[in-house]
């Protein structure tokens, strides 16, 4: 995939849209092993509450400070964690380019994650927004920095699969 000229706004937005959709597809299909491919080696990935974000507090529930930590998350989920089986659907909307900085795109989008457990009605597990810095690479877009800022006051039971 080659990236459209950054000055071509509608084309760029379409490409971004595809990127976010691919990301959601990867997680929803449980292809966790492919999830690290969306990140740069020096990435920052964090899931934090709006409460922490608004107060300028750095604590993340998931805080990967590089791509190896992203890979380790997958290992832990696959190999060591006990959790009730569930299916998750990420609904991503409102994709926006906020700023262009050289080969970086500052963007954001809303997310909603619906969770379905085997014996209960689906429920809204988490809602919030991605605050992203994406890098334009020869292979396409990659996440250099992603803060998943959730609006929920409380996490429902546990946060198992990344957002």
């Amino acid at each position: 995939m080659t990236l459209t000229d950054l000055s071509d706004a509608p084309a760029l937005r379409a490409q971004l849209r595809d990127f976010y959709d691919d990301y959601a597809f990867c997680l929803d299909e449980g292809r966790l092993e492919e999830w690290p491919d969306f990140f740069t080696e020096d990435c920052h990935y964090r899931v934090l509450s709006r409460e922490n974000h608004d107060a300028g507090l750095p604590l993340g529930l998931i805080y990967c400070m590089n791509k190896n930590m992203v890979r380790d998350r997958v290992t832990a989920l696959r190999e060591t964690t006990m959790f009730e089986p569930r299916s998750l659907r990420h609904f991503i909307s409102g994709v926006r380019v906020m700023e262009l900085q050289g080969d970086h795109i500052v963007s954001q989008a809303n997310f909603a994650v619906m969770e379905s457990l085997s014996d209960r009605e689906p429920s809204l597990n988490m809602v919030g927004r991605y605050l992203d810095v994406l890098r334009v690479t020869p292979d396409g877009l990659a996440i250099s920095r992603r803060d998943c800022v959730y609006d929920n006051y409380r996490v429902r039971t546990s946060l198992i699969v990344p957002i």
């Binding site: 604590l59 529930l61 190999e79 006990m82």
Partner: protein, 422 residues
């Protein structure tokens, strides 16, 4: 009624609902499931424990840095506020207007010069004294409060509170012993170990709503046995193992407890063969996630449970308080407050944040817990008359220097039965 067996139904409908709550005859080695489901038991716990002669965690001083900074919290199901006053002390007030009972703070944190109830704008100072009642003398010569209404008698209740090394505690009881006597020397030593009086730096919160009775979380923190089996991540990377040097000490008649172990790193011993979930082949790419930098605790991990609802502890370089807020018989909120010390270097702050990946709602070694507690609640709710067994490590309540024991849970129920009259 036209139904042919209506006589049977009539008998059932008129029979009084009589649930006898009798503790199993074996005593504290058995836990009846109804302690996790019965609304009457839950309400009694709120009255006897949270509103009774206990000291309750409210927050850290560093959360309210300036005069007028406040933070909202709950003691049991009662909303409270802690606020920094003009003298630099921290007050704990009921979060309830003296007039009609509305919460006077409906945000978690903020900064004010005084408190104004949003409903009828009754105004209070930072000590809860009523300063102003709009239209106290009425309007256009009519209405208003009776002449003998005394603002001094109608403030917001200020609770007895203490500040121990930067942690704020409060009690609703005037009869409760001093905080020091309430904790006892062992628990106090643990709090002082974590909060040696150095200024603290707030790093953030995690909050989760767990669909289980609050005591299940308390038991989870009094149960080193499960951690050596359920938490493969812990076991594999040596953060908490059955064959580590450890201490389980019940204190305060069983209400409190100290549970500590030592980080011994990844190793293979005789005991690992019993740990079916030990994974010798498992490697992390970023080993720093499980490698603490040496600091004050010298590899000692774990901490103290301060009854009813707080725990202080350390895991790797992550420092946090845990606070349980019971929401209903079958639901509790769990809040972690993560902090560091003001004099931490940048590297240490980074490690404290990194090691926070281990615990909390998405923690490598605590996602399992909230998932399991939900399963236990579903199981016990269906069978309130059944009971659980806590005989691992024997039937006594003596301190243990090993992990494969449920002594802290037994001691707790020894205390609980007496306090609840069960």
């Amino acid at each position: 009624m036209t139904c042919s067996d209506s006589a049977v139904l009539d008998t059932a409908a008129t029979a009084p609902i009589h649930l006898e709550r009798r503790w199993p005859k074996e005593g504290y080695t058995r836990i009846p499931n109804w302690v996790y489901t019965d609304p009457a038991i839950f309400q009694k716990e709120m009255d006897v424990f949270f509103a009774g002669q206990t000291w309750n965690y409210v927050g850290l001083e560093c959360e309210v840095p300036e005069t007028g900074s406040y933070k909202r919290n709950w003691i049991g199901n009662r909303p409270v506020i802690m606020v920094r006053t003009e003298t630099g002390d921290v007050n704990v007030l009921e979060n309830r207007c003296a007039h009609r009972g509305a919460q006077i703070c409906w945000q978690n944190t903020g900064r004010v010069t005084d408190f104004t109830c949003p409903y009828h704008q009754w105004n209070y100072d930072l000590h809860g004294n009523l300063q102003g009642v709009p239209f106290r003398r009425g309007a256009m010569g009519k209405g208003g409060m009776p002449r003998d209404f005394d603002p001094k008698q109608n403030g917001i209740r200020k609770l007895r509170s203490v500040n121990r090394g930067g942690s704020i505690w409060a009690t609703f009881s005037e009869e409760a012993p001093s905080f020091e006597d309430y904790c006892g020397p062992e628990v106090l030593a643990e709090i002082d170990h974590m909060l040696p009086g150095k200024p603290l730096k707030l790093l953030g919160y995690s909050r989760q709503l767990i669909p289980s009775n609050w005591k299940m979380y308390l038991e989870n923190l009094k149960d080193p046995y499960h951690a050596t089996l359920l938490h493969t991540f812990y076991i594999t990377f040596g953060l908490w193992r059955a064959d580590s040097k450890s201490e389980c000490t019940p204190t305060g008649g069983g209400a409190h407890s100290v549970m500590v172990s030592h980080n011994e790193g990844k190793k293979k011993t005789e005991a690992t063969t019993e740990m079916s979930r030990f994974r010798d082949d498992l490697e992390l790419l970023d080993l720093e996630t499980v490698t603490p930098r040496a600091e004050f605790n010298r590899g000692r991990v774990g901490g103290a449970w301060v009854f009813p609802a707080a725990q202080f502890g350390i895991q790797a370089n992550s420092l946090k308080t845990r606070h349980v807020i019971p929401r209903s018989p079958t639901e509790h909120e769990l809040v972690f407050t993560y902090y560091g010390y003001e004099d931490d270097d940048e590297e240490m702050t980074r490690l404290r944040l990194k090691h926070a990946n281990l615990l909390g709602p998405a923690g490598f070694v605590s996602m399992d817990d909230s998932e399991m507690l939900n399963q236990v609640q579903i199981g016990v709710t269906g069978y309130p008359e059944a009971r659980g067994i806590v005989e691992m490590g024997g039937r006594d309540t003596e301190p243990a220097d090993y992990m494969v024991t449920e002594v802290l849970i037994r001691s707790f129920y020894d205390y609980y039965r007496k306090a609840m009259g069960l």
